[in-house]
């Protein structure tokens, strides 16, 4: 697997383009490959990233009451479920209706070296972020060389 890192000084102008390029590249690479994640086209769409501590799953589900979101882990399976309601004023008639509403549920199979039991979730600006840390023994370690 190729390793790469987005620039650390993330300036907003080139930063967005750089991020979009990286996402496109990964999208092409994982399209059609039996990566174990064949859920493309299932709501909600997910992006999966890695950082030094583990995996970061980012899901765009705007306009959801966080209390309506259920994040569960069962062994290696992470399940994201919830309900999205769209509001309407009384006595109104719709000219456009593009935003979907209803219930959703999606499960992801996580690799073995992650500790699903220690997953943490947060919801901000309409994006759900689930952080799943690596198991301690799977984390990279630096071994000090001692002189005898």
């Amino acid at each position: 697997m190729t390793l790469f890192r987005l620039s650390h000084s993330f300036d907003p102008v080139s930063g967005l383009q750089e991020l979009q390029r990286e996402l496109d590249r990964v999208f092409e690479r994982s399209a059609g490959v039996g990566s174990g994640l064949s859920g493309r086209g299932v709501f909600p769409p997910v992006n999966i990233f890695s950082d030094k501590d583990g995996y970061v799953v980012r899901v765009e589900i705007p306009g959801v009451d966080p209390a309506q979101l259920t994040i569960e882990t069962n062994g290696r399976t992470l399940t994201i479920a919830g309900k999205r309601d769209v509001s309407a004023p009384a006595g109104g008639s719709f000219h456009r209706r593009e935003r979907g509403s209803g219930e959703f549920s999606r499960s992801l199979q996580l690799p073995d070296d992650l500790d699903a039991g220690r997953a943490e979730a947060s919801y901000q600006l309409g994006i759900l972020t689930v952080r799943v840390p690596k198991r301690e023994e799977a984390k990279p370690r630096q071994i000090t060389v001692t002189s005898v």
């Binding site: 390793l3 790469f4 890192r5 987005l6 650390h8 993330f10 102008v13 930063g15 967005l16 383009q17 991020l19 979009q20 990286e22 996402l23 496109d24 990964v26 999208f27 990566s35 859920g39 493309r40 086209g41 709501f43 909600p44 769409p45 997910v46 992006n47 999966i48 990233f49 890695s50 950082d51 030094k52 995996y55 970061v56 765009e60 705007p62 306009g63 959801v64 999205r84 769209v86 509001s87 309407a88 004023p89 006595g91 109104g92 008639s93 719709f94 000219h95 456009r96 209706r97 593009e98 935003r99 979907g100 509403s101 209803g102 219930e103 959703f104 549920s105 600006l125 309409g126 994006i127």
Partner: protein, 132 residues
Amino acid sequence: MSSQELNVRNKQEVSGAEHTRAGRAYVPDVDICENNDSLWLWADMPGVDEKSIEVKLADGVLSIEGQVSLKEYDSLSPLYTEYNIGNFARRFTVSNDIDAEHIQARMANGVLTVELPKAARAKPRRIPVSLA
């Protein structure tokens, strides 16, 4: 399990006029609703906070533009992607007479809500019929 199935709508890039800002912009999904008093608009713009959004009404064109925050992506490497990330932009021609002074917009959980109150002259009025 649910009465209504949620479908994934792939993000569409904004076509037509080019933007002065670098990077791709996407078209947000919107609902538009009208009642006697106002025109309401909701736009899904995940990743946009209230400081990075611009709502403008000029010459009968309502434009909404939002910049996504990228700081969350610092130090993350993508492994698998189903959606791309970009700014949001969309324009609408507003035919109603709008009371521009009293437009209200707010942002919550990645959803922009704009209320455009109709100008008094554009509101439907009931004309009383008197007996001659």
